[in-house]
């Protein structure tokens, strides 16, 4: 069997490496965790427990391809730091670390950190990580209301935003490991609530940060990803995953018609509400498209994902003299857009690495199947 080599895959590998290098710099400056963002004016921020948590699976997933970067060791160090700041009740606090003002346990942040704990447990880093995840998930389940979501939470809207599916997903993933029934029951209620918010045009009501009928693609993608992942874990594509398809179809079309550019915000009728792009939302959408395509194979979906990823690659500087900019992904493009204005967030870099890895793997699979059949 002949292996095909594609120049574009090599380009993706260069971008992945540069972005990982940037993420490692965010950890070097993070005093235990990964800095939330870099800004040209203010430099590196304090570390962000939430995104440090979900950065861990990214580091571990890339370890085998790039062993020289010591990604596993960095992931372990981040995990230990997160263990050190876990609250006695199993939760983690919101905001950057250390907190400004009185620390407040955060539902969303706790959910994201579970992903790191689980990934370390699955990488056989030690039993303490599953224990931490289990305590976190039980805290989340104990705080959930009858609808499976969280009243009076740490969000800016009047009710739990729909992107809290991104909390339901790691809870469910934890249940896979612990078998704790109360966690799964709570998640099922939450999923049913969010699924009931899906409108005929695919919009998931309340998927923005606020009550306004508009959302960043970042939180839209969070909401859809949570549903897609819960659907995967529960083996419930028809009941949950397929419900995201109308929204994904809209996003695919938008991305295709504009060469991979996706407006940073949309309203509830899919009207673009921004002239800038929310780059993290774009690569998160690429990941969601690939998750959808995994269930309904079609290279036309991969095509849109590739254009989104290519677009974000085109905004990256791989040789910039400033190490905080080199390999970073801006919050908005142009960088003065409304989302994370003038900053390079670590979550944009994390999702870019994830999207590049997922897309490259999909293309390699396609290339290999072609080789095998030729």
């Amino acid at each position: 069997m002949t292996h095909l080599t594609l120049n574009t895959l090599e380009l993706y590998a260069r971008h992945r490496r540069a972005t990982l290098d940037w993420l490692l710099r965010s950890i070097e400056h993070g005093a235990g965790g990964s800095c939330a963002h870099f800004s040209i004016a203010l430099g590196w921020s304090h570390p962000y427990p939430e995104t440090t948590g979900y950065l861990i699976p990214t580091l571990l997933a890339n370890h085998a391809d790039l062993p020289e970067l010591g990604l596993r060791e960095h992931a372990l160090a981040c995990g230990r730091w997160l263990l050190s700041i876990q609250n006695a009740d199993g939760s983690w606090n919101g905001g950057l670390h250390p907190c400004k003002g009185a620390p407040k346990p955060s539902v969303f942040n706790t959910g994201q950190i579970l992903k790191g704990m689980l990934a370390l447990h699955r990488a056989e880093a030690g039993p303490e990580f599953l224990n931490a995840a289990s305590r976190g998930a039980e805290w989340l389940a104990s705080r959930a209301a009858a609808d499976g979501l969280w009243g009076g939470g740490d969000y800016r809207a009047s009710q739990t935003p729909s992107y809290y599916t991104h909390v339901l997903w790691p809870m469910l993933d934890t249940w896979l490991e612990t078998g704790e029934r109360s966690v799964r029951d709570s998640v099922e209620c939450g999923i049913a609530t969010v699924v009931s918010r899906i409108r005929p045009n695919g919009v998931v009501a309340h998927w923005g940060f606020t009550d306004e009928p508009r959302a960043f693609t970042h939180t839209m993608a969070y909401a859809l990803r949570g549903l897609l992942e819960c659907s995967r874990i529960l083996g419930a594509w028809d009941d949950i995953g397929a419900r995201t398809v109308p929204a994904l179809e809209k996003l695919l079309r938008r991305a295709e018609l504009d060469g991979g550019r996706l407006a940073g915000e949309f309203d509830d009728d899919w009207r673009p509400k921004a002239r800038y792009e929310c780059l993290t939302g774009s690569v998160q959408t690429a990941i969601n498209l690939l998750l959808w395509e995994h269930n309904e194979p079609d290279l036309r979906i991969v095509n849109a994902a590739a254009k989104l990823v290519d677009r974000v690659c085109s905004t990256q500087h791989l040789t910039h003299p400033l190490s905080g900019v080199r390999g970073a992904v801006a919050g908005s493009w142009p960088i003065w857009g409304r989302y994370m204005t003038l900053r390079y967030p670590n979550w944009a870099a994390k999702y870019h690495v994830d999207a590049l890895a997922r897309l490259s793997a999909r293309i390699e699979r396609e290339a290999e199947s072609a080789c095998a059949s030729s």
Partner: protein, 260 residues
């Protein structure tokens, strides 16, 4: 038949070939509508969809540059084979006394009015952008197109490439244009053979040539009722321009098949 021909630019060689071959087959080209290429909105949209390289390619074609290894070389070969001397619609129109109208948009009210006034049997579409309802109504729904992929399965852009990627047999479909994207009734599906040595560019060229011949062959149908849209035609997912990574993958696949 008395027809109107549309084109996206004056040096569209495929449109020249259609005009001349239709004339030789005894049809009358009542007018040619050419969309003015250099409009800011059109250029902007083009760059967004196809990138700077796509724009450079288009610029080369606009100024009538020599065909390189693209679809153009196949069409050039057709022109030579058929002894067609003209390389632009304006030259062909001058030689044959056919009025050529440069328009900003085929859907503009003045263009639509002009078409209505011509009272032709139908329109042959050889480029010029998406046709909207007023234009289609002015043509009484009698607009023919050659699509470079098998319909209804592969609709949208880069259809020849998508057919290969999706494992559909490469073909050109002669069809009626309706308000959807490549959803109108099908008149003929012309298979395109993939031969040893074929590149993507050559395959695209073969499709264009098959489309030219298919459209001229189909003109007779304008005398009678036209086929309607297949019920599920619009439910097939639309294709868009290929992302570079998939284009590269496809080119290598062709090579691995024993192509170029």
């Amino acid at each position: 038949m008395r027809i109107v021909l549309t084109a996206g630019f004056d040096r569209a060689r495929n449109a020249v070939a259609i005009a001349e071959l239709a004339r030789r087959a005894g049809h009358t080209v009542a007018a040619v509508l050419v969309v003015r290429a250099l409009r800011v909105r059109r250029v902007k949209q083009f760059v967004r969809q196809r990138g700077a390289n796509g724009l450079l390619d288009a610029a080369r074609r606009l100024v009538g540059g020599p065909p390189r290894e693209t679809a153009d070389s196949e069409v050039e070969a057709l022109l030579v084979q058929e002894s067609i001397a003209e390389r632009s619609l304006s030259a062909w129109c001058r030689r044959n006394g056919v009025p050529l109208r440069a328009v900003t948009d085929l859907n503009a009210p003045t263009t639509v009015e002009h078409l209505r006034a011509l009272r032709v049997d139908g329109v042959v579409y050889a480029g010029g952008g998406i046709l909207r309802r007023p234009f289609l109504e002015a043509a009484d729904g009698r607009v023919l197109n050659a699509h470079s992929g098998p319909l209804p399965d592969v609709r949208g852009m880069n259809a020849c490439e998508w057919a290969l990627l999706l494992g559909a047999p490469p073909a050109v479909t002669i069809h009626v244009i309706d308000e959807g994207i490549d959803t109108g009734g099908v008149l003929e599906i012309v298979p395109i053979a993939v031969e040893r040595g074929d590149t993507l560019a050559r395959l695209r060229g073969k499709c264009v040539v098959a489309g030219v011949r298919g459209l001229v062959r189909a003109l007779g149908v304008l005398a009678g009722p036209l086929p309607r849209r297949a019920p599920a035609a619009a439910s097939r997912r639309q294709c868009f321009t290929l992302a570079p990574v998939l284009r590269e993958l496809l080119e290598q696949r062709l090579e691995a098949r024993g192509g170029a």
